[in-house]
Structure formats: structure tokens, C-alpha cells
Symmetry: C2
Subunit: 295 residues, 2 copies
Amino acid sequence: MSAQAPSLRQFERFFWEQILSHAGANILSQISNDNCDAYLLSESSLFVWDKQFLMLTCGDSTLIESLLHFIEQVDEDAIIQLHYHRKSEFIPYLQRHHFMDDLKRINQKVTGSAFRVGHLDSHHQYVFCANNGSSEPQLRGCELVMYHIRGEFADYLLSEHPSAEGIRSRLGLEQSFPHFVFDDHCFSPFGYSVNGIYADQYVTIHITPQAQSSYVSLETNLKITAEYPAVLSGFLSMFSPLKWDVMTLNNPLPDSPWDDAFCSLQSQLPLSETERLFFYQYQQNNTEVLIPYAL
Amino acid sequence: MSAQAPSLRQFERFFWEQILSHAGANILSQISNDNCDAYLLSESSLFVWDKQFLMLTCGDSTLIESLLHFIEQVDEDAIIQLHYHRKSEFIPYLQRHHFMDDLKRINQKVTGSAFRVGHLDSHHQYVFCANNGSSEPQLRGCELVMYHIRGEFADYLLSEHPSAEGIRSRLGLEQSFPHFVFDDHCFSPFGYSVNGIYADQYVTIHITPQAQSSYVSLETNLKITAEYPAVLSGFLSMFSPLKWDVMTLNNPLPDSPWDDAFCSLQSQLPLSETERLFFYQYQQNNTEVLIPYAL
């Protein structure tokens, strides 16, 4: 938002509830500090700072409806930067509409550029980016998405009664993110979400452990690839995913950051003169022997 | 078909035209020999032997409708083996219906088993298989599917006026498949299909060269993985695909058949006491640097 616009944190909770209702999401709980309000949603998250907000959704939610509703509620000229990302679906035939439809609707309100990063027949991400000359650095940082998790932790997540405490302690959040305050929720029968904040920093983790489409995402504005590489490695050891994608702003990964991993794809996208998005796809460096799935 | 059933080749061309019309496909041309009639369709193929037929479709065609119509036309008891395969779509959001719907409809007519081979978020294949004690060996053999083709041949296919002769000679069909008779078609603006037959052997190649979703399939009942490995290697050199899948009946690939290739997945599916389907996914063994695609 522009410097002249009021702080987004002045909006009441009801305002955000209205925005979220357009995505079919609702607030489960909330934590706050001097810089940020962090809302834990039904398998999603919303972070609100003074001049920025970040909303992550998954599953059936319709983020585009929330975005368009937000633009209607505020002065369009006050919006300096707008980033709208859409990941390819895990089970694409369940997809109800497509990014190109979203794009048409956003472009009626805000002018920007759109790209696809990654191939159509693999994990890919759609990115819409509008930038009207902001000097405010983005509060986004790095995203790690892991697919097909395996091992003891994956088994625990699918066990009969995983608890929020059990998952949180296995994640080692307090060790990886010291000083952070956390807010988490364990869904029934499966799934776990946690938000963490410290000053203007955030971390959010969402876990969908179901066997045929397991998926763990970690997103943070810590410079995790550059300054905390052990945190990423730790998450990879914990979940032992078959494949994983990394998206990072301005801090590219080093070559071969992990043993036994093969980088199948890398791509970079300039978002502005000073900002560059890096996208990587990794996979285990050995042949998976897969038993056919009986239907 | 059962030994008592009449030869499928006794059906008139009109019969097959009716079957094909249910898939939205039609016959472009035909070649025949003592064993087989091979029909070249709109980006698809149909092969008819005395006791078996093989129909391959792609794009928008609805193979399931043809199959159900065929079952209605013949005595169900005469059907000894039935295999119905469905590949995951290249652009899944265009998919109009799903294999599970197909399965429900087939199961009302014929009882069999169904499997998914491969992960949901990658290329995968659905297989339905019914076997009522046939001793007739399947006339299927091996399928090579290449994705994201590159290089001189790929460029030629996207050039302004590729010709059937130009494509056929670049494919080197006469050298790879001596004695075969070929029937091909070059589609406008892009795409190429060819059928080839010799005795009871067939080969069929379909090429969709469009840049964002390029795709080449080669299918044959020659024991190509075991007896003609140079043919597969030759096709891989020609098209230099980023990824490729191999499916083969009873003749598994050796370990590491190709240099600079990484086998990310292998799977096997027993179809009967004597028949086993092998499925492999390969990819180039180096990191692809991909430029984001502007929308």
C-alpha cells in the first residue's frame, strides 16, 4: 500500500472476515505483535502488516474472490504492489477454474504482468505481479513445498491420534525459529497448520499428509536459503519427500545444496529492478519403485 | 475375442466408422495386409486383427464411448480380454471427465481390475484389465512417450511447411522398420501421424510438436526393448525429450539403458499369470534452465 494509505492493521477483524468469506475461509485463531497480525484459517493463513498483507489458501478456497473484494474495498491507487500466485493443483481434474480466468478478472482492476514458471505437465506456478514503483521491500522470502513425504513423521501424521503438541515438537519449531510465537491447529482426521511471528518476520507451515497426495509447505520471510540453510535441510530430513520445489526472493540457492538430490529445473523471474524470484525443482536422486495403486 | 467368435476383420468399414464416431474420430486412410487392417484417424489409430483390435486416441476424443458401443455390438461373452488405458492429460484442466467415471461405466458391462501407475502429480496412467482366461498373447508390446522435444527435428516440425515426406524421411522409418508398409498424414498447422504394418506387427507414431506441450508417442508390438534397443535410442536422439515414459509388456528394460538419463520411477503390474506390464519414467540427467513463460 502507498505511504499515504492508512495502516491495514486499522481494519477490524470483521473486515478480514468479510474478505476471507469470499475465499470460503474463516478464522480459527489469531496471534499479534507490534508489527503483525497472524490469522490461522481453515488450512490457510493470513498475515497483516501495516502496509502489506499476505493471504495463503489451499484446497477449494477461491483466493481470487478475496483479492477482488479487497481491491473493491480500498482505493485502487493506494495499491502499490500486488502479487498473486497460483500453484498447479495436486489433483488437477478437481480444479474448478483456471489462472487465465483469474488473470482476466485481476487485469480489469490492476495492470501487471503474468507468467508461468515450470512446465504444464509438472508442478508449476502462475505468477501475477503489478508494481507501481514501490520502494517498500516485499515481506515475502522463501517457500519450500514438499511432495510425497515418507518416513516416521509421515507415519505419525497418518496415525490415529496425532496431536498438535506431538507435531509441533517433532517439527522442532522452537529450535528452528527462536523467539517466535506460534499458533497451530490439528485438523480432523488429518492435517496441521501453524503460524509463527517474531517482529515483522513470519513463518507458516501447512501439512496435508494423505498418502496419495501428501504435501507440506513452509513459507517464511526469513532469509532462510542464505542464513538458515540448516532449517531447510532439517525439514527435508524430517519429511524425506520424493520431490520438492523451492521458491525464493533475491537469495538464490547454491549449486547442489543437498546430497542425494537432483535439481531437474531452475528458473528466475525479474519482478522489479531490485527483486528477482528464483524457482527450483528437486527430487530424490534415486529410482523410486512404485507399487501400482489399485482403484 | 473367443475362438468361436467371428473374425473382427469381417466387420465392414462402416462398423468401425460407427464405433469411431462415438469417440469423435474418423478414418483418414487405411492400409491392410493378410493379418491386419490399419486405420489412420484424426490424430489417432485403429488396428484390427482377427481376434483383437487396438484403438488409440488422443486429445478430445472419447475412447470410452467407442468401447462401450463396441461391447453393445458384440456378444459380451465373446470378449476374452479387455484392456483400457488412459494417460493423464498434458493440460489436465482441459480434462472433461475422469477415469473413475469411465471405470464405473465399463464395470457395468465387464468385470476387471483397475490401477493407477505413477503419481497423481506427474505423468500417470490408468489401466483397466479384464481377463477371462485367454491363451491368445496380446498384440501389444511397447510404448515410448516423449515430452518436451527439442532440437533440429522439433524445430522442423514447427517450421512453416513441414511435409509428410520430410518428417517420414527424418524419422528413418524404412531403416528402423524394414518390410513395413506405412500410411501417414501431416496435419495443419501442426502434427503428424503414421501407421506401419508388416505381417501381424504394427508400429504407430503420433507427434504433437506445439512448444508448450510437445509430445511424441511410438507404439509397437515388436519386442523393441529386447530386440531393437537401437530404435528406441534413435528416437530419443532424434527428439531429445526432456522426459520420457516407457511402458512395455513382459520385456523389462535393462538398468540404465541410456547415458545422461535418470530413471525417476519404475513400476510393474501383473496383468495375468504370464503377462506383466512394466512402466518407467526417465528424464534428462541435467538441470533444465527454464525461462518463465509470459502469459
